[in-house]
Amino acid sequence: MKAKISLILPIISVLVLLLLMPLVLKNYHLNILTEIIIFALYAVSYNLLLGYAGLLSFGHAMFFGLAAFVTGIAIIHLKGIGMITAIFLGVFSAFLAGVVIGSLLLRHKGSYFALLTLAFNALFYAVATKWHSVTGGDDGLNVPRPELNVIFAKIPVETVPQFYYFTLIVLGIVILFVWFFTRTAMGKTVLLMRENEERMKFIGYSTNLSRLILFIFTGTLAGLAGAFYTLHFRFVSISAISVEMTTVVLLMTFVGGTRTFWGPILGVFVYIILQNYLSDITDRWPLFMGLIFVFMVLFIPGGLSGFIMDMKERVAKKREVALEGNQL
């Protein structure tokens, strides 16, 4: 019971804090916070692959970008489309892509998986670039934000705080569900994949099916983040589906730490804040990010969250030692 309170308390306080943010922050910062929430879902879904299953994907942006484009194109071409339908179409396209590509990659893991996901991402990018008439290519598409009608009520999402609340509530619930997912049967099965793919086969698990389900699930989640990305910026271009969009989520996730659920969220926060401030000071910001990344691969493979957990453990041990000393 005590363990449950210590888990739920921080979550609730963070949620309350986030709900109060529009009272404190100006629109500029609220926009950044909205972006952080969108990328938090993107990174959390990516970490299910990298941290939980031990699968390094270089193709996460194909789901993110595909859904971003489908949502945007649906809004532009389907007159009077509602926001929920637009999001649904985007997410559904990512789901379908997950089914098709996941089936093709079924037998591959490790380095093969990394290579093939990169190749598929490159394919999506190439198609998006060439198909200029639909995707707008480098120029991108301007996407108006459609109306949000829930049953018969029209919910306003035009202003920055309104869209912030919309994003926070929808994606916040989804992120909480993903957290819950990591504790469910399938979530635990994902860990078995990382720990010992060979052994799990002999206790009744199909590793191919496990990998396929996870790939579809994470792709669909990335798609949801992509749909919100288009709605948030009211714009989508081929950069949303580029390999860079995958490497960004890899950097965020790894820097934040893959060993904990909240690590990637921390990584997104740090990355976007740093990007916003450092990119004003220096053009060489990606270079510094790269150096930090390689430094972490070499010396702090657990990322920021791993580092924090280690420190916490050390402090706890010291306290224990101190207590024992007192008793003596």
Partner: protein, 287 residues
Amino acid sequence: MSEFLVFFLHGLAYAGLLFLVSAGLTLVFGMMNVLNFAHAAMYMLGAYFSYTLMLHTQGQLWLSIIVCPIALFIIGALIERFLLRRVHAYGHVSELLLTFGLAYIITELVKWYWGNYPLALNIGGFLGETIQFLGLSYPVYRIFVFACGALVAIILAVILQKTRLGIIIRAAVNDNEMVDALGVNVPLVFMGVFAFGAALSGFAGVIAGPLLSTYPGMANDILVDAFVVIVVGGFGSLAGAVIASLIIGELQSFGALLFPKLSIALVYLLMVVVLILKPSGLFGEEQ
């Protein structure tokens, strides 16, 4: 007819480049089970080093061909010895992440030092001319690029088939444990092959510069094609790399002629078909 011949020759030239890049990639992958994302960055460094060298020596391509691969051999050896070997114990994900991070840093450094725009090089002398045959005039340089690829392929085949080193490398590709049994200094062989792969890739960069121009995106462009080559050819197979480079070089070239809209997708389409029909690649062994 002559148009077809021109595109066929174009395809050969690109195939030559692709082979030079994928040969090292597939050998390192086969031996060390490391997919080296920084491999194409070596190619890009080769091109940029050569650009600067040629700028200062009034276009001495021959000098670049000698100097740049040596420089990249050293860089490759250092990367293997001091970085890759260190993360080996953390598992293959860390190795991939490291090479990816290095590629990222090298690209950013290149943008910083040389700028984020294409640099063109003109080749003087005989290589810069065109030759007349079968009623068409064709640039000598493209033929030269293909010849380089073909020459390296032949040399590699001879080394792998006829020398003791080649036997060790082939054994390592098939079964890592077998090499231990042969009583070889495995870390040294790994470092050598990794550095040699980097040098080959750098050599490809040197000769690619005048053909495709030198720009910061060139690494990613060829990396994806080289990945497709090793998927199609079969992981770790040099013969596969030769055939797949030729197929993809020609597919790119004729794709641009016959289906300009679809040309990029054709290469991936080939990859998907191979993945469905023979997941281990044309020359790959089943598991």
